[in-house]
């Protein structure tokens, strides 16, 4: 069998098809703000400005085969800082789509295949019946062992529930106890919620693999599942790209969705403001310091400032205003951590850590002991670069800290707490 080669794309022609009327990649002033602000600059001897220039010069063969497209996380920071608002990530997506499947990073392709392999749409291939079993099993254990939650529910396929809650597969698959703090929060605020046995999973590597058809199929399954249960809100839990792929996908593929897409962060903030989630920072007697990582997928690429503000409000409520240190830059100007775009699955560890150095420096500059982030990829990447560059910080989910503050964090739910936080319980 002959090995497949990567076809050559005509980038300039494609760019003209993609852009709205009047916009042009030729508007690029070559100022370099994009490259200057991109953590992937220099990897594989490429950067965003070079990419655009090469496209405009017709260097299609070189671009079509550049491995850099797998190091670009499509975080759109280049567009954010560009005075002409040029969107390079669109070309990167095209380039990814253009690679034959055999040539693409196997980890991303495999994750997409697993998503397609069951009705769960889980990138770890966890089938619906296993998900239902794990949820039930963990719930029973909590009810038995934590008397305060002996009546707690984790509804499955409940028609007409207000919230359709998604779940990153990592929890039911590898760390099921991490689901419990979330359930406790729903229990305390009295949320009318449900899981679905179908299309419950959050992650979507099909978009990252550049497989548009598969991306569409996944979104279709998820939209159908929410419509079927008649929920008003698809509630995205602490996972960044699941939100973006769903929101962007619904628009891109013109699907009919009878519900709103919302992020859990918005609800944390709302429930705290409404007094339904009575958290405070009294537990933080030792003034342990925290910073937050703004996931690109829900901040810069989606909600923008409003969710960034909610995240800070929640953090300050949890840890005390004086113990919160913002990263610089932050909010929509924040850097991608390097865990996005499928980078964690792409098997390019050295490049990924080079990319992540910028994030590591940002965190180091805050001097904070912990990073809070509502995104699994951010979480994993920030942990990894912390070990690699010998940082001393920890990474925690919001749900963990909320339950810690409320004094309801069970013993099995403390995986991400360092000794200092454990002492605060």
């Amino acid at each position: 069998m002959t090995e497949k080669t990567i076809p050559t794309l005509n980038f300039k022609e494609k760019a003209e098809e993609l852009l709205p009327e009047g916009a042009s990649f030729e508007a690029c002033l070559t100022c370099g703000l994009c490259s200057s602000g991109c953590p992937a600059s220099g990897i594989e001897n490429m950067d965003p400005r070079k990419f655009i220039r090469m496209a405009m010069l017709g260097m299609d063969k070189e671009l079509s085969t550049s491995k850099w497209i797998w190091a670009c996380t499509q975080c759109k920071r280049c567009q954010h800082v560009c005075p002409m608002s040029i969107d390079i990530s669109q070309l990167v997506f095209l380039a990814r789509s253009n690679w034959p499947r055999e040539k693409k990073p196997a980890g991303i392709v495999r994750s997409c295949q697993l998503i397609q392999s069951t009705d769960s749409t889980s990138a770890m291939g966890l089938p619906p019946e296993d998900f239902v079993f794990v949820v039930q099993d963990v719930l029973e254990e909590v009810r038995e062992q934590q008397p305060k939650f002996k009546n707690m529910q984790a509804p499955m396929d409940k028609k007409g529930a207000h919230f359709f809650v998604n779940q990153n597969s990592r929890e039911p698959m590898s760390e099921p106890d991490e689901m419990v703090p979330l359930w406790k929060i729903f229990d305390i605020v009295g949320a009318n919620w449900t899981y679905s046995s179908k299309a419950w999973a959050a992650e979507n590597f099909c978009m990252f693999s550049g497989n548009e058809e598969a991306w569409r199929e996944v979104i279709k399954k998820r939209v159908d599942a929410v419509n079927e249960l008649g929920c008003e809100v698809w509630l995205n839990t602490e996972c960044g790209h699941s939100y973006y792929t769903m929101w962007n996908g619904i628009n891109r593929f013109g699907m009919k969705a009878d519900f709103k897409l919302e992020s859990l962060v918005t609800y944390y903030a709302r429930w705290i403001r409404e007094g339904k989630l009575p958290v405070n920072s009294d537990w933080n007697r030792k003034n342990i310091t925290f910073t937050v990582q703004d996931p690109c997928m829900i901040v810069r690429k989606a909600y923008g400032e409003s969710i960034a503000e909610d995240m800070r409000f929640v953090t300050k409520s949890l840890v005390g205003e004086e113990n919160f240190i913002d990263m610089q830059p932050n909010r929509s100007a924040n850097y991608c951590c390097g865990g996005g775009g499928g980078f964690l699955q792409a098997g390019m560890t050295e490049h990924r850590r080079t990319y992540g150095k910028r994030k590591f420096d940002q965190i180091a500059a805050t001097g904070a002991s912990y990073v809070l982030t509502p995104c699994h990829n951010c979480h994993s990447q920030i942990e990894d670069i912390g070990h690699h560059y010998r940082g001393s910080y920890g990474v925690v989910h919001f749900w963990t800290l909320i339950c810690l503050s409320l004094g309801i964090l069970g013993e099995n739910e403390r995986t991400y707490l360092g000794p200092d936080l454990l002492e605060c319980i």
Partner: protein, 429 residues
């Protein structure tokens, strides 16, 4: 799109359109006067600034020598170019505008020298001198060292483009004999091209400062003053400089680099972070699609990726800049103002836009094109009447100035924004 979503509405006393220097200055002055403000604009060109805030550095029509006294320069302009925007604002107001603007920046973490009676000489990456009224504190030592002709080493970094210490020295050596150059390696940067922005952020980490301090101390040798490209931190530049001075025992200053230059990114990031905290409704990265004037105010419409946004404002300041930012548009039929179709004062035909030589010191007629305003800085319509009593304009969209040749970009932006906000306040009362 069938997904449920909500339209977003905001209301404000003042809507500032534009997020360049004039737009940000307008919001600062509005904050000072407790005017409820919303500001909209795409990324704009703030990130390209050197950080220097010039008032007036060179005089029309020939723009020959740099001028030392910008205030006297404005007096001269009043005779020769009375329609220049700076001539329409009293000196005391221009001075106050610069004072308020620089003190705001200082309070927000980027210290500047206050406005004085004379221009100072700012150093440029080309080794030339730029006459400017205020300089960031991180650059102040450079201007002083130049005027004293102190022994000094300009240091650049391997892999950094857009700043060459040899170039700086080559062009200044005649006037600054004890100036020399050195090239060093920045700590922990992988090989290849490195950017000032990346170095600046890396210097916010104490460990990087310690490593760089050793390198700098060794490069300086016996010399006590060193100049670096502008890389001394992003959001706490004064602290980074102070610490490096303590660690090295040297006096350290910055010189702006070619764009994208750190001082511009510092300003933009600071505005974007602080304005919302101070109560300004800031919608960056978006352009206004439509602006219509209704009774007692205006309605702004725009769209972001989530759908429509509308803003109702009692007054509007148009600070949309020139060609780069989209405030003016150049077409085959001439220069136009795209948002309101305001008439644009311009040469009669395209053939008169440019002189024969691009580098002609006298500049080009198209660069003085722009919109007309009345004495209250209200843009005029085709009949020479104010377009609306609720509309004002500020910045380099105004006609009768060539900010590049005149070295007066910040001056026009800050002074006219001050004046426009003053007029807005009168209107609101």
């Amino acid at each position: 799109m069938c997904m449920s979503e909500e339209d977003r509405h905001f209301s404000a006393e003042l809507a500032v359109i534009g997020t360049g220097l004039a737009g940000f200055a307008a919001s600062i002055f509005a904050l000072k006067r407790n005017i409820k403000t919303a500001q909209v604009g795409n990324t704009g060109a703030v990130a390209y600034t050197t950080g220097y805030l010039d008032l007036l550095g060179s005089l029309a029509p020939d723009y020959l020598a740099s001028i030392e006294d910008p205030w006297q320069g404005i007096e001269q302009l009043r005779d020769s170019h009375p329609r220049h925007p700076l001539c329409r604002i009293p000196k005391d107001d221009i001075f106050t505008a610069f004072e308020q603007f620089t003190s705001f920046l200082g309070k927000c973490g980027i210290a500047y020298t206050p406005p004085g009676e004379f221009n100072v000489s700012g150093l440029t990456p080309a080794g030339t001198l730029k006459p400017t009224l205020c300089v960031p504190a991180t650059m102040q030592v450079g201007s002083a060292a130049f005027s004293q002709k102190e022994p000094c080493v300009i240091i650049d970094f391997k892999g950094l483009k857009g700043f060459s210490s040899r170039q700086v020295v080559a062009n200044l050596k005649d006037r600054w004999p004890k100036l020399s150059s050195k090239r060093v390696e920045f700590p922990d940067m992988v090989s290849g091209e490195i950017y000032p922005e990346v170095m600046a952020r890396s210097l916010e980490v104490p460990a990087t400062r310690e490593k760089l301090a050793k390198i700098l101390a060794s490069a300086a040798g016996d010399v006590k003053v060193i100049g670096l490209p502008a890389i001394l931190g992003m959001h706490a530049p004064d602290l980074v400089r102070e610490e490096l001075e303590q660690l090295t025992g040297l006096q350290i200053f910055e010189i702006p680099t070619m764009p994208p230059s750190v001082p511009g990114i510092r300003l933009r990031e600071m505005f974007e972070q602080l304005f919302p905290q101070k109560g300004v409704t800031l919608i960056p990265q978006q352009k206004v699609d439509r602006l219509v004037f209704i009774e007692n105010g205006a309605q702004l419409s725009l769209n972001d990726s989530f759908g429509p946004i509308s803003i109702h404002a009692k007054s509007v300041i148009l600070a949309t800049g020139r060609f780069l930012s989209g405030g003016l548009k150049a077409g085959v039929d001439g220069v136009s103002e795209p948002l309101l179709k305001l008439p644009v004062t311009q040469p009669d035909s395209r053939r008169e836009w440019y002189r024969e030589k691009y580098t002609d010191r006298r500049g080009h007629a198209v660069n003085s094109a722009g919109i007309e305003v009345d004495s209250s800085f209200r843009p005029l319509d085709n009949h020479g009447r104010p377009y609306s009593k609720n509309l004002f304009a500020a910045g380099v969209i105004l006609a009768h100035q060539d900010w590049i040749r005149g070295r007066c970009g910040a001056g026009v932006a800050i002074a006219t924004a001050y004046k426009a906000v003053e007029e807005v306040e009168k209107l609101l009362k």
